[in-house]
């Protein structure tokens, strides 16, 4: 009575035997991430080398997991880290608390903190999970100068530049 159903089922599994498996063999083959994938954070810079982060700690306020810790300090023209008045002197993200939701990226007024594509984050000690500013900050281009920079007074007064809507 069930013979036809069983036979159809067995034929199906037999056909599947000859299909190419769909598994990606992980460390050797990696799948490309999606366009808006939320991975490891990074603090971006402008073309001239100044950091985008102005230390406003809106990201820390937006974070639902309370993973970000920001302390800000005054910029001077002799030692300028970012355009405007303030910069983040201490910036730490606790990767064990972070839920990779992207709210900090949405909250940032200068598009400083961006969640990138890297998902292979591992540490062997809980203290190594606290990512400091040095670990998060992107390196600077060869054409620009490293911060702190010495600039002319009065050039970089505006903290938040004129920006377009993000496309990613």
């Amino acid at each position: 009575m069930f013979v036809k159903g069983i036979a159809t089922g067995m034929y199906t599994t037999f056909r599947h035997l000859f299909r190419k498996p769909v598994t990606t063999q992980y460390p050797e083959q990696k799948r490309t991430v999606r366009r808006r994938f939320k991975g490891r954070h990074s603090l971006h810079r402008y073309e001239n080398g100044l950091e985008k982060c102005i230390g406003c700690s809106l990201c820390a306020a937006a974070c639902p997991a309370d993973a970000i810790f920001v302390e800000s300090a005054e910029n001077t023209d002799e030692q300028r880290y970012s355009p405007g008045e303030r910069y983040a002197s201490t910036y730490e993200i606790n990767m064990l608390r972070c839920i990779f939701c992207g709210y900090c990226e949405d909250a940032c007024p200068t598009e400083a903190i961006i969640l990138g594509d890297n998902y292979e984050l591992s540490f062997t000690d809980r203290r190594e999970a606290l990512y400091t500013k040095e670990m998060l900050l992107l390196p600077v281009h060869e054409s620009a100068q490293i911060t702190p920079q010495k600039v002319e007074p009065g050039v970089f007064n505006r903290s938040v530049p004129v920006m377009q809507d993000p496309d990613d």
Binding site: I6, M10, T12, T13, F14, H16, R19, V22
Partner: protein, 339 residues
């Protein structure tokens, strides 16, 4: 009794045990790989080339696991139960002929361990029934009500299907007019493979043995581990490995038996001239049957316990009795053909 006889006997026994245990290890590998490919994924392919060392890795893991015996468990029976289950599986193949006689070192050696036992089939059914004890004792000795229920269910399943199994054995016995397994194989050489004359018998045998070894889709006692418990829930480490060993060794054993009784055993083209081809043919038939068993596991969902018992008592048993009746009638109608 000369020394050469003992040496021959011991070597054959050791070879068969070694074959069964290595066979068990690589049957687990074959099953995992085949199931995986049927599910469009790779099987184990990290441990060694193509995952061939996976059974070794599993064995090492099980050896290093902590052996836990529950406090109020009946210790002697708890330790004996897996042993009681696995030994019948290992000795069932003693009467099966793997080939004709070969000439080695000046002796005629027949490729079967216990020689030509004239009640071979009775031996097989008797030994198969002993392993039921191991399971019910495992459930009892665990001092765990879920294990007890799992053990009882498994026991009930096994003894129900033993009836249909014994009746399925009767078909080949009638056709060959002998209970010795050698006689059945040579009768198939004269008449033709018994699957042609006993198609229903073959199917009954196949299904009944799959239910005997608690194999999918009849593996409710085993699957209960996922649901509540099975009879081997309190076992860990090597004792658990012995239960797994039982299942896979029995899978090999029933494939060999099915091939011997219905598919001609070691017979095949040119086996008289080249006796070494006998085990090769038997091996090919066994692998084919094992593949079918694994294929059925990949395809069918588990049968619910009450439907499983219904199937054994209300469908397989009447069908097996009818098969015996039909075989008897045909033998009486054509006596010369089946002499």
């Amino acid at each position: 009794m000369e020394l050469a006889f003992f040496v021959e006997w011991i070597i054959k026994a050791v070879l068969m045990l070694a074959f069964l245990i290595v066979g068990f290890a690589y049957t687990t590998y074959l099953e995992r790989k085949t199931l995986a490919r049927m599910q469009v994924r790779y099987g184990p392919n990290r441990a060694g080339p193509f995952g061939l060392l996976q059974p070794v890795a599993d064995g090492v893991k099980l050896i290093f696991k902590e052996e836990l015996i529950p406090k109020k468990a009946d210790k002697l029976i708890f330790i004996l139960a897996p042993v009681l289950t696995v030994i019948p599986a290992l000795v069932m193949l003693a009467v099966v002929p793997f080939g004709g006689t070969i000439n080695l070192f000046g002796r005629e050696i027949s490729l079967s361990i216990a020689g030509d036992l004239n009640i071979g089939i009775l031996y097989i059914t008797a030994i198969a029934s002993i392993s039921v004890y191991g399971i019910v004792l495992a459930g009892w000795a665990s001092n765990n009500k879920y294990a007890m229920m799992g053990g009882i269910r498994s026991t009930a399943q096994m003894i129900s299907y033993e009836l249909a199994l014994a009746l399925a054995f009767i078909g080949p016995i009638l056709l060959a007019s002998t209970m010795s397994v050698n006689g059945i194989v040579s009768a198939q050489g004269r008449i033709g493979w018994f699957i042609i004359f006993q198609p229903i018998g073959f199917i009954i045998f196949f299904l009944a043995t799959m239910a005997e070894i608690n194999r999918s889709p009849f593996d409710m006692p085993e699957a209960e581990q996922e649901l509540t418990a099975g009879y081997h829930v309190e076992y860990s480490g090597m004792k658990f490995a012995l239960f797994m060993m039982t299942e896979y060794i029995k899978m090999i054993v029933i494939s060999v038996l099915c091939a011997t009784l219905f598919l001609g055993g070691y017979l095949g083209p040119f086996v008289d001239q080249v006796p070494w081809l006998g085990p090769v043919y038997l091996g090919i038939k066994t692998l084919l049957l094992m593949f079918i068993i694994i294929w059925i596991r990949a395809t069918m969902p588990r049968i619910r316990y009450d439907r499983l018992m219904d199937f054994g008592w209300k469908i397989l048993l009447p069908l097996a009795i009818f098969n015996v009746f039909l075989t008897g009638v045909i033998i009486i109608l054509f006596p010369n053909f089946f002499s």
